[in-house]
Amino acid sequence: MGLQIGDTSFKDRVQEGLKNDFMRQAVSSAQGRLRNGRLSAAEELGDWEDWRTLGEEIRTHTMENLDFYLQQLSEQVENRGGNVFFAETAEEANEYIKNVVKKKNGRKVAKSKSMVTEEIGLNEALEDVGAEVVETDLGEWILQLDEDPPSHIVAPALHKNRQQIQETFENKKGYQKTDKPEELALFAREQLRKEFLSADIGITGCNFAVAESGAVTLVTNEGNARLVTALPDTQITVMGMERIVPTWEELDVLVSLLTRAAVGQKLTSYVTSVTGKRLEEEIDGPDDYHLVIVDNGRSKILGTEFQSALHCIRCAACINVCPVYRHVGGHAYGSIYPGPIGAVLTPLLDGYEDHKELPYASTLCAACTEACPVKIPLHEQLIRHREIIVEKENMAPTGEKVAMKGYANWASNPAAYKMSAKMARMALKPWTKHEKISNGPGPLKGWTDVRDFPAPSKQSFRAWFKERQKGEQT
């Protein structure tokens, strides 16, 4: 599947999203819950702003010394009997993982939820070598059965309702019970338990790798990541190269921020830190361990004005407050990374060509920036993207370019400006009725399709002010 999902245009995807009433209702109520959860968890913690600042400092420091920490991490993992592979591209990562699976003669791969494996399209790659891949996160499993991409980075099946899930289970797995969430989940538990016990390869992502000791930390609620790391004899961790913290002390801060920002929990049910191979005489855990560190465009972002996008800890707080996401849903973004962070990250990882609408899918209301637990200036980065699209990539529509040229001349020339202030009311007169415009011309049309536009004042402010001054003098 890879980073990009679907091949319809942004406009069509937005329309699709807007038509989907269930999805919009579901997203809206999920946003409400998640947002409130985050706010109350932040309040309980007390000095949330201090925590955010600390989080930002840790991420900045780590990115500035990424080489060092990646080196330290690999050494630690190797010391504990693990193999470390740096993959520059998605293909390299998939190739390496396929080879491990082939070498082990792996038949069944149990996976726990991981965005980076979605990004590199690992499941399809593994199917190429004849391995059966089972997603074990409840949401991901539902999507896998339904061949549907995720629409949210924390709650991937947010857009689906219980009837749809019941239907999927029935059609694909012979489920016979009701659409009660408890019964659906119990069914998934029973089905997937068998898969865990028979899987020979386990693959997880990584929330944070601790450089000092080589521990890969997985933050989950369902327990599937624990099963995936405990039972299969071969274990592969796939991590984006930025998902690293220097020591356990920084891990504490970032995990505390992550669980609160993502789901409003003090900690999730399971925070699991696994290091390399199982030790001698241990039964659980892998006897063959691989850490695949994926670049796939990330190192290109280092040292640029977008570096802080790499600070992202994938909590989705920005998505949960985004009013645009609320209305159009995750799939409209056409990327496995939706919402504000998706609009920032997707063009960086996959270029502007297919994603040039994303930076404009925001009112720049800055709710995302305010919510981000590591203070990524998301709305400012969207503006940077727009600058590149306009000034470097030259992808802006001609009409817009002409209009902006005109704007610049107008706004830098007080006489022209003054004239327009005088003329505006008259110019819009043909469309004005009862002091409002309901069917505006040109660029006003988009506006007046849904709302009225006010008629310009009879007298501009500057004209009034001048008159008033004169009056005062006489």
Binding site: L18, T363, C365, A366, Y417, A424, G446, W447, D452, F461
Partner: protein, 238 residues
């Protein structure tokens, strides 16, 4: 105290009444208000759309216009927020960096100026009616002014101030967004309109006319009877 009014192009041309109330309000607070005529637009429409070079032309004009001002005060959180961003835009520019820093440091949104600079929280206004207040995104999150308008409004006599549900949600304006992504913008303003209706307010108050035109324009389109008011109009009311 000498104050130079930054009217904003929107209030200069479309909602000139806001400027009159702002001037009177500042004068009541003891300020001497002047109006530098060379001012135009803050540059935001181009800046937020990615036309950095075009936006700089506007910004330079603004820096020239307010070069000698002691304080620059404007009736818009968003446009003043833009002035406050100038230092980032001109960082490292030998010709303009200092002026950008200078303008940003002396620029205030009008309620921010009253409360934070003049230390006034009660302007002695009276306003009878049921009202609700929409805190615009750029005022609260870009400029960082959250308390000042609330403090001033709470001291207005006679007013029934109803809390707006999900007040800090964007109304869907977003500058060129309202035109470029008008469909999404439309959905957002419908939702905001719904929340305003829930308050059963007669007046919707805000600190940014653009957002008020967006919400008000939607509400009149829906046939809803509500009047939009810039906060200065309420604070200047006796």
């Amino acid at each position: 105290m000498k104050v130079s009014l930054f009217i904003t192009c929107m209030c200069d041309i479309i909602g000139s009444g806001v400027g009159k109330h702002t001037v009177e309000l500042l004068e009541k607070a003891g300020c001497e208000v002047d109006f530098p005529e060379a001012q135009t637009c803050c540059g935001q429409p181009a800046f937020n759309s990615g036309y950095l070079q075009d936006s700089k032309k506007a910004m330079k004009q603004m820096m020239r216009a307010f070069k000698d001002a002691e304080y620059v005060v404007g009736p818009s959180g968003s446009c003043v927020g833009m002035l406050r961003e100038y230092p980032k835009v001109f960082r490292g520019d030998p010709e303009w960096e200092e002026q950008a820093n200078n303008l940003a440091a002396k620029s205030y949104e009008v309620t921010q100026f009253l409360v934070d600079v003049l230390g006034i929280e009660d302007v002695g206004a009276t306003f009878n009616g049921r009202v609700t207040y929409h805190p615009s995104c750029h005022m609260t999150r870009v400029l960082g002014v959250k308390d000042a308008p609330q403090k001033l409004l709470r001291n207005v006599k006679g007013m029934d101030l109803i809390e707006l549900p999900l007040a800090e949600d964007c109304c869907g304006f977003g500058g060129t967004f309202a035109v470029k992504n008008s469909v999404i913008s439309g959905e957002m303003v419908k939702e905001k309109s719904q929340h305003v209706s829930e308050t059963r307010a007669e007046y919707l108050i805000g600190g940014d006319m653009a957002c008020l035109y967006n919400i008000g324009g939607r509400m009149t389109r829906e046939g809803k009877n509500i009047k939009i008011l810039h906060i200065t109009e309420v604070l200047n009311h006796q």
